[in-house]
């Protein structure tokens, strides 16, 4: 101890400080924020995208960005299933992207994370699908630009249905019966995804209910939804449902590899189904759950938002305007060249020849006839609450009423925070 004290002089202190400074410098070497150097001039913008399953999408986004000459736009292509977690966590840091794709959710607006884009959208607002404008609007202001609409419905093999003597289901009961008849030792009747999350909202809509009503109050807790959950439990335990598939519902593999006869999926996968199965492919909406319900299609999709807390809000808005409002060629390319999506711009959708005939046209018709769009008031926490209802009641066999009561508690807590 005394030896230590005797050495504790100014020189030692200086050395120790130098050592710590060196350590700090080393630590700073790791500050990669994902932005490339601008070379001393111009604006750098960073945009986040989740990894699309369709080949060529990443290259397409980078091609569009490279064509923009007012700023250097870097793309971060985030793989994995937890895009939203990474996005939200990064938005709290200095490495937050200037632009990012996501779904319209009011907490993004309430927490001041997304910029008001009304001024750039207003001039072309009438050319957008009105539902896409509504789903991005809070208090009269528009907070995001829809890039693509993604209707989700069932794909099926007509040859297999014909062989089993099954007609295209129009009710959930018929869907359950069809799954049973189509199941063989090698092929399961139906694939709804490994966690069934994709069919939660369609089931609610097809039961004649909704997530929230016009006054932003709970609209999913109905007898029809409870009946639907019980039927889904029957389906889950029937042995006719494909579970634990290597790829999830959004991938065309299950139907294409002959693991199932019917698969819930999105219109984005239509070209892959057609390429593998040729004409032996058809589509139908989520069938009605109760007599008072009606078929439904979830019109998912992705929208572009500007980080309101970023350093380059105006430059990011200018890029959004250039790419997602002015460059119609790129917008059509993005919607129809890498899987099929419906362009949210009415003029582009009307001229997209790939969507005018055959199966794509049938998909567009289902979108038009039965489509339900995102509700901006339906947040991630609420989505999780209903996912838990499905986990506990459909997959685990718990009481639907009790599960919905628990979800109500979470959703009401959210609603109170968002709307008072």
């Amino acid at each position: 101890m005394s030896a230590m004290s005797s050495n504790w002089d100014r020189r030692s202190l200086f050395k120790a400080a130098a050592g710590l400074a060196a350590a700090g410098t080393l630590a700073a070497c790791g500050s990669n924020n994902g932005r490339s150097d601008s070379g001393g001039s111009g604006t750098n913008l960073t945009q986040f995208f989740h990894a699309y399953g369709e080949a060529g999408t990443e290259q397409a986004i980078k091609k569009y960005a490279a064509a923009y000459d007012k700023a250097k736009v870097n793309t971060q292509w985030i793989t994995g299933s937890d895009f939203e977690s990474k996005l939200f966590a990064t938005l709290l840091t200095k490495n937050a992207p200037d632009l990012f794709e996501f779904h319209p959710q009011i907490q993004l607006v309430k927490s001041g994370q997304v910029a008001d884009l009304t001024d750039i959208i207003d001039p072309v607002k009438d050319d957008f699908n009105p539902a896409d404008i509504t789903s991005h609007t809070v208090d009269g202001k528009i907070y995001g630009v829809r890039m693509i609409d993604d209707p989700q419905f069932f794909f099926y093999r007509p040859s297999l249905l014909e062989k089993a003597g099954v007609k295209v289901p129009t009710t959930l009961d018929e869907l359950i019966e069809a799954a049973a008849k189509l199941t063989t030792s090698k092929v399961k009747g139906l694939f709804l995804g490994n966690d069934l999350h994709a069919v939660i909202n369609p089931m609610i809509w097809s039961a004649g209910a909704d997530t929230l009503d016009d006054k932003n109050q709970i609209a999913y807790h109905t007898d029809g939804v409870i009946e639907g959950i019980k039927k889904m439990r029957t389906l889950f335990t029937s042995g006719d449902l494909l579970l634990d598939a290597p790829a999830d519902y959004w991938d065309a593999s299950a139907l294409n590899q002959g693991l199932c006869a019917m698969q819930f999926c999105g219109m984005w996968a239509m070209p892959q189904f057609q390429q593998t199965l040729g004409d032996d492919i058809g589509v139908f909406p989520f069938p009605k759950v109760t007599d008072s319900g009606k078929p439904s299609v979830y019109n998912g999709g992705w929208s572009m938002f500007v980080n309101a807390k970023g350093e380059n809000v105006e430059a990011a808005k200018a890029y959004v305007k250039w790419l997602w409002l002015d460059q119609k060629t790129y917008q059509e390319d993005w919607a129809t060249s890498y899987g099929f999506h419906i362009p949210p711009r009415t003029s582009i959708a009307a001229s997209a020849t790939k969507l005018k005939s055959g199966l794509p046209a049938e998909g567009v018709k289902l979108f038009t006839d039965y489509g339900h769009f995102d509700n901006i008031g339906w947040t991630q926490a609420m989505i999780t609450a209903l996912e838990d209802v499905f986990a506990n009641s459909v997959r685990k066999g718990g009481d639907p009423e009790a599960s919905l009561d628990k979800a109500d508690k979470t959703v009401n807590r959210e609603l109170k925070k968002l709307f008072g």
Binding site: N7, A23, S85, D195, G239, L259
Partner: protein, 321 residues
């Protein structure tokens, strides 16, 4: 003292090096050496451990949704919310089930492997490497292999192929909580990943046991095999066993990767860290509630670790045994 006297009496011819100036720099100052080696770690410890812990405690008393710099003080509301949350409380139950199985099983398996490898007369290095190699594999990579290749629910999954030979139907190992086959998937993955590491610890301890002990025991009539193992080997491994159990318990508390990747978005089979991830970093982005849960979990780990240390005598000197 004696050394000094000796030098005084018979001073050797000074070496050439001794004419050099007093040593400075790296070898000249113990204070400098102390800071050189501990400074970077100390800085890292403060920045990456103590500051986040302090910040987390602070956040736990605020409403921190979508922000880590909140301004709305809510007192113990976040703590009440987490304790009222069946999922968080249930995650502690999940951990208990997991730890109750994985700690003794890994202990027994790694000790068994160490005993086997230690007895080998040839190719010992090969088998030691074979059992140790899984340690180098990432938990995420292993989880994905387990999920997509071995335990997927379709007919060409490895596990389903094997049970198919015996006429058993395909099993959905992870999607269906009843029966809870997911435990088989999770436990086998972790056993595969961590047993090799603890085997090495036991192997080192086994090789430190003096052979005289076994010879003396043999002279006293101890039978080789179980009797020798029970009365000689196992007591000699006490210190290592205690450390291994402690490490296994801490590792069980930290379980995240395989649960997160194998059981994405279920309401069952969530250990505390996965539950806190979904609360604080998942879709909910509730850093206040997540921090409250983290503080409670930390306190629990401290209590359990202290209790376990007291129970097994970890850290006691020989004189206190």
């Amino acid at each position: 003292m004696s050394t000094t006297t000796t030098r005084d009496l018979a001073r050797p011819a000074p070496a050439k090096a001794s004419k050099a100036k007093p040593r400075r720099g790296l070898r000249g100052s113990s204070t400098f050496n102390f800071w050189l080696f501990t400074g970077p770690f100390l800085v890292g410890l403060v920045i990456f451990v103590y500051v986040p812990i302090g910040w987390s405690i602070w956040l736990s008393f605020f409403e921190a949704r979508f922000t880590v710099t909140p301004d709305k003080f809510v007192g113990f509301e976040n703590y009440r919310f987490m304790l009222d949350d069946n999922d968080f409380v249930g995650s502690l139950g999940t951990f208990t089930v997991f730890a109750a199985f994985i700690v003794p099983t890994t202990w027994a398996l790694s000790l068994g492997l160490a005993l086997l490898v230690n007895r080998l007369r040839f190719m010992r290095a090969f088998f030691r490497s074979v059992f140790f190699l899984p340690t180098a594999c990432s938990y995420v990579a292993a989880s994905l292999i387990w999920k997509m290749s071995i335990f997927n629910g379709v007919r060409f999954g490895l596990a389903n192929t094997v049970i198919g030979w015996f006429g058993v139907d395909n099993i959905a190992w992870l999607a269906n909580p009843d029966p809870p086959w997911y435990w088989l998937v999770i436990l086998t993955a972790r056993l595969w990943l961590q047993s090799g590491f603890f085997m090495i610890l036991f192997l080192a301890a086994l090789q430190n046991i003096p052979s005289e002990l076994y010879e003396a025991a043999a002279i006293d009539g101890a039978k080789p095999g179980w009797q020798t193992f029970w009365y000689i080997t196992l007591p000699q491994l006490r210190a290592t066993s205690t450390a291994v159990v402690l490490l296994l318990l801490v590792a069980a508390y930290q379980a995240f990767d395989e649960f997160f990747n194998l059981l994405s978005k279920t309401t069952w089979g969530r250990p505390p860290l996965v539950e806190l991830y979904y609360t604080a970093l998942g879709q909910n982005q509730d850093y206040g509630a997540g921090s409250a849960g983290a503080v409670m979990l930390t306190l629990l780990i401290v209590i359990v670790t202290l209790f376990q240390g007291k129970l097994m005598g970890f850290g006691r000197g020989d004189e206190s045994k």
